[in-house]
């Protein structure tokens, strides 16, 4: 008991000193820390959104919707394939996640299977005994599409958010098809949400002037055409257009888009890359005098008539924009189209004021709590209570230091975790001291009472810490957001308190014993 190897003393002191040094930066503001030399630790505890204010959004990439759209565009290919192979069919349509159809002639099932298999390697063909068939994406293809869609979405979302000027956004994948976004300092996420809610798929398609929209709606739609609605708020014009499905040029070939003014009206100017410019040039040269539709997310923004071939690869989109909507559209076009629609599943926004209030309240509660515990320990244990308080102080430093070093995020429940850990940390001291008292009463010498107090209480202390740690780890594993923050501080607190309340307390008691050689233990 009395013997503490020198290296152990050194190690304990070193760990305590490290805790103090690592936790120190948290007492200063980032601005105060900045001019200090590099060897001074700068890492502070990162504050969660509930403390610094900001927006948390959980998005879902709707891969199924993207697949459905792709199936819809594949229907023409299916129709052509069956027609070219002279196979009779009925009921060709998209239902759920599959293209469905029925082959009339039982003798042609095999031919149909062959013809359809060539359309798209990602689609699997099934035709049952009665001729009812489906075309579905294979599991492998679905998985690949999902992965690509989520990866691309993250990239495009990052571009869009960066363009809004949000500082330090966090954008990460979560689970299979979710994306988690954290926007520190954003009080009103409505603008960001509006930007994320749009796919921003831009296409230029020729208008079919041979049919009117109302004729088309009555079922006389030529193959290869589609009816698209005009965008809301568009100037007096038709409410929908019949356009060619074939895309002349797409938004993926744009290199730049900017909001500008034309005749005092906000417009968006765009510029194609070389390949896009050539395609746009060819298409406009062949169709001079005809209108073409500028389509955004399946809505026609405007349908100007081509007056002359546009060969420079740049142009202007006009269509009753406001300054804001023009600059938003330019931003979306620069960032690119999302591969699939995005749904917002969860939103949590905390204003900066509430965050500041929470830090204030949390810090006050923790300080008062720790102070009360410290006074309590001195009241009941005297000098040994002071030892426990010293250990408590280092425990707090080690916790803050570890949180800073790990870059863990401190949330409001996390602060509660700290306060709670401080209350529980002294439990180890209480166990040890009560045990020492008992041993003294049992008639042991001072030295052997101290010894027995530590060794006998150790098993119990370990048990209680392990059980709390188990709860903490599971909370971290399964929890989310602020609860995760609570789990982090609770678990780290358990580990640091095991060190401080056993080793730091013991070192102090040993030192005190060696110096003073007491005749009595000051516990009673």
């Amino acid at each position: 008991m009395l013997y503490f190897a020198n290296w152990k003393v050194l190690l304990i002191c070193a760990v305590c000193a490290l805790g103090v040094i690592l936790s120190l930066p948290n007492l200063f503001s980032a601005r105060q820390l900045a001019p200090l030399p590099e060897w001074v630790p700068h890492k502070q505890v990162a504050l969660g959104l509930d403390l610094r204010g900001g927006s948390y959004l959980l998005l879902e990439v709707d891969v199924a919707a993207a697949q459905k759209e792709r199936l819809t565009t594949t229907i023409d290919a299916v129709r052509n394939a069956l027609r070219n192979a002279r196979i009779g069919y009925t009921g060709l349509d998209v239902q759920g996640d599959a293209i469905v159809f029925t082959i009339r002639d039982a003798g042609q099932f095999e031919n149909a299977r062959e013809a359809l298999a060539k359309i798209d390697p990602d689609l699997a063909v099934t035709i049952n005994g009665s001729g009812a068939g489906t075309l579905k994406f294979t599991a492998v293809a679905t998985e690949t599409q999902r992965r690509q869609a989520v990866e691309q979405s993250i990239e495009i979302i990052r571009k869009r958010i960066d363009e809004t000027g949000t500082k330090e956004p966090t954008i990460q994948r979560q689970g299979e098809d979710r994306i988690l976004i954290e926007l520190p300092g954003v009080d009103d996420p409505n603008h960001v949400k509006a930007l994320l809610g749009r796919t921003a798929k831009l296409t230029f398609q020729l208008v079919d002037t041979g049919v009117t929209a109302s004729e088309g709606q009555r079922g006389r739609l030529p193959p290869g055409d589609e009816i698209l609605p005009a965008q809301d708020g568009s100037r007096s014009g038709p409410s929908s257009y019949v356009v060619r499905r074939r895309v002349m040029v797409g938004g993926d070939m744009l290199t730049d888009a900017q909001a500008t003014f034309q005749n005092n009206e906000p417009v968006v100017s765009f510029k194609f890359d070389t390949a896009g410019a050539r395609r746009f040039g060819d298409a406009t040269r062949e169709n001079v005098g005809k209108p073409f539709a500028i389509v955004l997310d399946n809505k026609v923004i405007s349908a100007p008539v081509i007056k002359e071939p546009i060969l420079g690869g740049s142009g202007i989109i006009s269509g009753s924009f406001t300054v804001q909507s023009a600059s938003d559209l330019a931003l979306l076009l620069r960032a690119g189209a999302l591969p699939a629609p995005i749904n917002i599943l969860e939103e949590r926004t905390v204003g900066a004021q509430l965050g500041a209030d929470s830090i204030h309240a949390g810090a006050l509660a923790s300080i008062v709590g720790v102070a009360l515990v410290a006074v309590f320990m001195v009241l009941f244990y005297g000098l040994f209570g002071v030892f426990a308080d010293v250990a408590l102080f280092f425990n707090l430093c080690l916790m803050l230091g570890a949180l800073s070093l790990l870059g863990a995020t401190l949330t409001l429940p996390g602060i509660a975790g700290i306060a709670l850990t401080m209350g529980m940390a002294v439990d180890a001291n209480v166990l040890i001291y009560e045990r020492i008292k008992e041993e003294v009463r049992g008639g042991r010498t001072i030295l052997s009472s101290l010894e027995a107090g530590f060794t006998r209480a150790f098993g119990t202390i370990l048990d209680s810490h392990v059980t709390t740690l188990v709860a903490g780890v599971l909370l971290y594993w399964l929890g989310s957001g602020p609860v995760k923050g609570f789990a982090v501080t609770l678990s780290i607190g358990v580990l640091t308190s095991l060190f401080s309340s056993i080793l730091v307390t013991r070192l102090q008691i040993v030192t005190w014993f060696r110096r003073t050689r007491p005749k009595l233990i000051p516990l009673e």
Binding site: N343, L345, V350, V373, F376, A416, L420, R441, L474
Partner: protein, 313 residues
């Protein structure tokens, strides 16, 4: 430096005499909880059932709840609940889950903000769609059940199975009655509450383990003492520790409750209840249960002998 307050003697309280009161009280409380759970149900927060929570601060003097309610009711967003929250300027608004999937929730918030008009500062807006709500409750309950299971497995490893049974019953009791507290007072039950429940389970087990440790030790020390007396002795010997630890944790929790702000209130109330009920259950449930399913004293004594020999080597 001497302590100012000293618990000098080991008390001789006959805890075991009160075991029937303990059982009766706990059974009644458990029955009440289960009854309320299935009839009234819990006041689930939006984490679990989805919906919208808005914490708003009026920037033009105290908030007029009636006027705000009228504005929101005009939107027909289902029942909107308004409640003063902290200072008279602050209002907590809850909107129900809107039909029409995730997008409908977002639109409801927009509509509410437009209806409430200017002079309002939005301190907090939380929107949980139907997709996530279901998942959060599943993950939360799973976490709680797994954590309980893991803690109990640990106890079963460390102790004889009889202690495992006692610890299981006591911990379940604490978890169930904490849920009961939320059912009785209709406090909001959310993710933070689940975190509190897990912490309570951890704390309750701590307390039980300390007492069981002592029971086991006394079984080795006093081989002829009646088991009833022995349990009483163990409880009395550990009583000062029990009281001191409850007090320190309670001090920390009380300062959270009174100073930690509105957001932590539910958590602090749950914790305060938990440490009281956790301590109670260690004394009046966990210990008597072991009395009824007595561990094999001879085996424990023998094991103690082996350990002693091993330790001497």
């Amino acid at each position: 430096m001497r302590p100012l307050i000293v618990i000098r003697h080991v008390p001789t309280i006959d805890f075991m005499r009160w075991r029937f009161f303990g059982f009766a009280f706990s059974l009644a409380l458990t029955a009440l909880t289960i009854g309320l759970f299935f009839t009234v149900g819990l006041n689930y927060g939006i984490d679990f059932v989805g919906g919208t929570l808005i914490e708003a601060k009026s920037t033009s003097g105290p908030a007029d709840l009636g006027a705000m309610r009228a504005k929101l009711d005009a939107l027909h967003l289902g029942q909107a609940s308004l409640q003063q929250f902290g200072s008279p300027d602050d209002v907590l608004i809850r909107l129900q889950q809107q039909p029409g999937g995730d997008a409908a929730q977002m639109q409801a918030v927009k509509a509410a903000q437009a209806a409430l008009g200017p002079h309002i500062q939005y301190r907090r807006i939380e929107v949980v769609g139907p997709t996530v709500g279901g998942e959060l409750i599943r993950a939360g309950v799973l976490a709680t059940v797994l954590a309980l299971a893991a803690i109990l497995i640990y106890v079963w490893f460390r102790f004889e199975w009889q202690f495992g049974v006692g610890a299981t019953i006591a911990t379940m009791h604490d978890v169930i009655t904490t849920v009961g507290l939320f059912a009785i007072f209709q406090l909001e039950f959310n993710l933070t509450t689940l975190a509190a429940i897990l912490t309570i389970a951890g704390y309750s087990i701590n307390d039980t383990v300390v007492i069981y440790d002592r029971v086991r030790e006394d079984m080795r020390k006093h081989r002829t003492m009646s088991f009833r007396e022995l349990i009483n002795l163990a409880l009395n010997e550990t009583l000062s520790r029990t009281i001191l630890t409850v007090s320190t944790v309670a001090l920390a929790v009380l300062s959270l409750l009174f100073l930690g702000g509105e957001v932590l209130k539910g958590f602090s109330i749950a914790m305060l209840w938990g440490i009281v009920i956790g301590t109670y259950s260690s004394l009046f449930i966990a210990a008597p249960v072991v009395y009824y399913i007595q561990p094999n004293r001879r085996a424990i004594a023998k094991e103690a002998g082996r350990r002693a020999v091993g330790a001497e080597r």
